[in-house]
Structure formats: structure tokens, C-alpha cells
């Protein structure tokens, strides 16, 4: 019984911890800027490829048929 309670509490606290520290969410601010800096190092100046076309507009576009 104690083991069951312990495992349950660990799972619940893990969920609480992940939620409190907002693990896995998109991080804006300095974290975003640092990520972009690294990404842009590999881009040619003037290139449109690799930034928003990788996941930006049109990314989910495509024919939708039916429901």
C-alpha cells in the first residue's frame, strides 16, 4: 500500500513539477533569441529559406478534402 501511495505521489508531483516549471512550452525572450542566433548562423544573408518557411505560413496548408 505504501509503495502504491509513493508511486502515485511521485507521478502526481512530477506532473505538478512539470506544470510549475512549464516544461516543454515555447519559450520567448532571451531563450528564443539565442535559438534564432544559432539558427541564423547557418543561413546565407538574404535567404528566406530555413526560418519561417520551415514551420511558418503555409506550413499546414494543403488540400483538405471532406470532413
Amino acid at each position: 500500500m505504501i509503495r502504491t501511495i509513493a508511486v502515485s505521489m511521485i507521478l502526481f508531483l512530477l506532473a505538478g513539477g512539470f506544470s510549475w516549471f512549464l516544461v516543454g512550452y515555447e519559450r520567448g525572450g532571451q531563450a528564443y533569441i539565442n535559438r534564432q542566433r544559432e539558427q541564423r548562423k547557418s543561413l546565407r544573408v538574404g535567404s528566406h529559406a530555413g526560418v519561417y518557411y520551415m514551420g511558418g505560413p503555409y506550413s499546414s496548408r494543403g488540400p483538405r478534402f471532406g470532413k
Binding site: 502504491t4 502515485s8 512539470f18 519559450r27 528564443y32 534564432q36 519561417y52 514551420g55
Partner: protein, 490 residues
């Protein structure tokens, strides 16, 4: 085995006296077609299904499985609730409607005073029955209903035909294998009743459930009491675990709901009147795709101070300004921190001021706003070595319709929520890029910001885990069994 084979060989066809053997036939048609067992004459081919006595004689062996796996046994003596019983006979029945094995055992017991009792062992429960004389009973009220002590019962819901498939010991009559009995089982005022109707007599028995513990203690204490005790102990453990997981389910659900309803809208934070249209519906062509491009800059910054919770930005098509119809529009929204914005404006103050008058001075008509120099600079924002924006989110709106095999359909997505976490509090300017299939009013986009949003996805995940664990333990608390026969929870 040789004796059984002899029995089968002695069963003769009623039409030609040929030997009967086992066979199958297809019942139903199409997807419902099912191969079912039958007895068949090896000479004339006459078929005998489960509604004939011959069928039960041919398949007698099939119905005798697990004869020893019972809570009672012939000759056992024991005391239940102060009454001494001796088991003197057993009859095993099969439900005539079932092709599969569906048997139950009825044990005849005699007490010290010479009265007979039946113990029915079925689906993990034992019921003790005794003869009962009802105050009133009419089985022929109508073809579908019978009356029993002032109440009416449906024959269809309570009735079934039981076939004797095995008998041993001393019984109050001489049963025949395959002999049918029309039975009606029902409950009334806490008792279980069975009406058994044969060609020439009707008998009524009334019974109550007897806990397995009492039955095993009385008749099979040495054989099964230890296993019964262990089974009940482990079931109790699973039951407690199930309770713990159920409590955790409730806690996780509550936490997830709390997260779902967290956050509050920052009313008035996005001032639509303070915005500059830097470019409006410029025709563009990229990667073999033609589209219209617009840029909007909100000149009143939004103050975002929370770094301990999520922000949620909702971007939606403002249908009051312009509805969407059979078209798409994509957006990219950037948050530019105040210092970087000021730096940008310093670099091109004249261009900004001259080329992009504000909206609220009435000089901008969204559809013919010129392409500004600031707009051109921002159009190249991805090429800046030092990123200008602190957050960038994007999404697609669409509206489509058509016809399929179910008829006309119309679907659209005109609002998108995105969550993000900000690690730097401060004032941010909103810059919006719009890409559309058709010319669209850049004013037709509405932005809402919600602050203080809490995460709930991890609580939903553990809720799923706890639900699975609860189900597993709940099932095991009822099904764990070390005994050789089914046993329901007492």
C-alpha cells in the same frame, strides 16, 4: 474414454437407425454467418441441433469438463447457519440457446430432518434453494407474460430452456441426458425464484445467495479454505490500490481543471486604433505560389510582466470587418522588445514617420496603404544577424466547402490560440505579417492576450495513467482467483 465412445456409437438416428456423429453447419448469412456444431446421422444425413436430446448425447463429453472444479462435491457434509447438510446428488445443466459451453451445477442436499435443498453453483455464486409454494401463480396469463403472487413477469426476459447434460448421485427423479426443462428465473423482494416447467409438472423453488466462504467452510474446508483466504486477501489489496488510484484520478482531474480555467484576458492591452499598416496586399510570388502580403505594426506596446506563467495569444479573423469564404490566410506575429523597437525606429525615423501615418489620423485606407520603407526593413527581419523579435508565432486560417458522399460540407478555422512562456518581462510591440490567397483588409485581424495561464497537460497525462491503473486494479480486485472455480465477491 472407451465407455464414452461406446455411448456415442450407441446413439441412433430416429429416422434410419444409423449412427450419429459430430458435424457442423452454417447458421445465418453474410457477416453473421457462423459455423455451429450439430449431431448428424452418418447414414441418412439427418441433422440434430442443440434443441434435440440426441445433440447432448453426442456432445456429452464436451459438457463434462471441470466436473471436479466446484465448491461442492458429492458426499460432502457440512453445516451452514446451524443446519447440517449432506450433498447426495448433482445435475449439470446447459443453456439450450448457447452454442458455447454455458453450464451450471445444481447440488441436491439433504438435511438431518430429511428435507431436500438445492445449492446452485453458477457464475461464481452459490444460491441455496428450497421448495416454495406460492400464494398464487398463473403461467398462462398470456403467451408472453406469467403471474406470480400478484406480479407479472415477462416470459422472454426471465425464461430459458435448460438441458440436463450430466447427473450423478441420488436424485429425487431419474434424469435423462438432453432432457429439457422450461425455466423462469427472476428476483422478488430479495429472493431468487426459479419456476421449472416440464410436460407434466411445475415446481417452484426460492433461494438466497450463500457466501462462498460459508460454502467452502462447510463442504471443502481442507481443500480450498487456504486458497480462498489468500484470494480474498489479495483481492482486498487490489481493492485498496484501486481506491488510491481513484483518489489520485480525482486530484489530477481537479488540478487539470484548475489549469484549464486559469489566466485572465489583458483587456485593452492590444490597442487596434494604434496601429500602422506598413504594407497592404502587395502581390507576391514565392516558391511558385502567388499571394498577397500585408504588414501591420501596433505602435502602442503591450506590457508583459509574468515570467512564472504562460501567455496565450489568440489571433482570429474579425468577421465583422471581413468574413472568410473559400480562401486561406496565414499570419506571423512577432513581439519586439521596446529597446530593439526604439533602435529600429532610430535607424529609420523619417521613413517611418513619412511613409506610415498612424491609423487613427484617418489617412490610412487599409487596402491602398503604401509599401513603406520600414515595412521593407521588417520584411527582411529573418535575415538580421541579431534577431529583432523575442517571440514569433504563426498559423493558418482557412474556409472551405465542398460535396462528398454525405452531401454538402463547410468547414473553417478562423481563430488560433498559441501559448508561450516569456523569460524577460517588459514592453513589447506587436508586428503582424499577413499572407492571403485573396486581397484582404489588414484590419480584419483581432488579437487577444491572456496572462497567468497555467499548464494542465501533465495533469491530463497522469490522469490517463491513474485511470488505467484504477481500471486494472478494479478488475483484479474482482477477478483474482487461486481457486479452480469462478468466485464472485462475497
Amino acid at each position: 474414454m472407451p465407455e464414452e465412445r461406446e455411448d456415442i456409437q450407441s446413439i441412433k438416428c430416429t429416422a434410419c437407425s444409423g449412427d450419429l456423429g459430430r458435424s457442423t453447419r452454417i447458421e445465418g448469412s453474410g457477416e453473421d454467418a457462423e459455423e455451429v456444431p450439430i449431431a448428424k446421422c452418418l447414414s441418412c444425413g439427418k441433422e440434430y441441433d442443440q434443441k434435440t436430446e440426441e445433440y447432448y448425447l453426442v456432445y456429452a463429453e464436451k459438457f463434462r469438463v471441470g466436473l471436479e472444479n466446484t465448491a461442492m462435491k458429492l458426499g460432502a457434509k457440512g453445516e451452514i447457519d446451524g443446519v447440517e447438510y449432506e450433498i447426495i446428488g448433482r445435475i449439470r445443466y446447459q443453456d439450450e440457446e448457447e452454442w458455447e459451453l454455458d453450464v451450471w451445477d445444481e447440488w441436491l442436499a439433504v438435511t438431518a430432518d430429511g428435507s431436500f435443498h438445492w445449492f446452485v453453483e453458477e457464475e461464481g455464486e452459490v444460491h441455496a434453494y428450497e421448495e416454495y409454494v406460492p400464494a398464487s401463480m398463473d403461467l398462462e396469463v398470456s403467451p408472453s407474460v406469467f403471474e406470480f403472487e400478484g406480479r407479472r413477469f415477462s416470459k422472454e426476459n426471465t425464461g430459458f430452456v435448460a438441458r440436463i447434460v450430466y447427473a450423478e448421485g441420488e436424485l429425487t427423479w431419474k434424469p435423462e441426458i438432453g432432457e429439457p426443462a422450461q425455466c423462469y428465473d427472476f428476483r422478488k423482494e430479495g429472493y431468487s425464484y426459479t419456476i421449472e416447467q416440464s410436460e407434466d409438472e411445475v415446481s417452484v423453488t426460492r433461494g438466497k445467495r450463500v457466501p462462498y466462504k460459508k460454502v467452502i467452510m462447510a463442504f471443502r474446508k481442507e481443500d480450498f479454505m487456504e486458497k480462498y483466504g489468500r484470494t480474498m486477501l489479495i483481492r482486498e489489496r487490489y481493492r485498496r490500490k484501486a481506491w488510491i488510484y481513484l483518489v489520485m484520478c480525482a486530484l489530477s482531474f481537479a488540478a487539470a481543471v484548475w489549469g484549464c480555467f486559469s489566466g485572465g484576458e489583458m483587456r485593452g492591452a492590444v490597442d487596434r486604433s494604434a496601429r500602422m499598416v506598413l504594407a497592404s496586399n502587395q502581390p507576391k510570388s514565392e516558391e511558385n505560389a502567388n499571394f498577397y502580403f500585408s504588414q501591420v505594426l501596433y505602435t502602442k506596446p503591450v506590457e508583459l510582466t509574468r515570467t512564472d506563467a504562460l501567455y496565450q495569444i489568440r489571433v482570429e479573423v474579425d468577421t465583422a470587418v471581413q468574413a472568410m469564404s473559400r480562401e486561406w490566410e496565414s499570419y506571423r506575429l512577432m513581439l519586439i522588445k521596446e529597446d530593439k523597437y526604439q533602435e529600429l525606429v532610430k535607424k529609420a525615423p523619417a521613413r517611418t514617420a513619412a511613409a506610415a501615418p498612424s491609423a487613427d489620423d484617418g489617412t490610412v485606407k487599409p487596402d491602398d496603404a503604401p509599401a513603406t520603407e520600414l515595412g521593407q526593413v521588417l520584411d527582411e527581419v529573418d535575415t538580421f544577424t541579431e534577431p529583432l523579435e523575442s517571440v514569433s508565432i504563426n498559423g493558418d486560417f482557412w474556409d472551405e466547402d465542398g460535396h462528398d458522399d454525405e452531401g454538402y460540407w463547410h468547414e473553417s478555422e478562423t481563430a488560433i490560440d498559441k501559448d508561450f512562456l516569456l523569460d524577460e518581462p517588459g514592453k513589447y510591440y506587436i508586428y503582424l505579417e499577413l499572407y492571403s490567397q485573396n486581397r484582404r483588409n489588414p484590419d480584419g485581424i483581432k488579437i487577444t492576450i491572456v496572462e497567468g495561464v497555467r499548464s494542465y497537460r501533465y495533469f491530463v497525462m497522469v490522469l490517463m495513467v491513474f485511470i488505467v491503473l484504477w481500471i486494472i486494479n478494479r478488475v483484479k480486485s474482482r477477478s483474482y482467483n487461486e481457486l479452480p472455480f469462478d468466485i464472485a465477491t462475497d
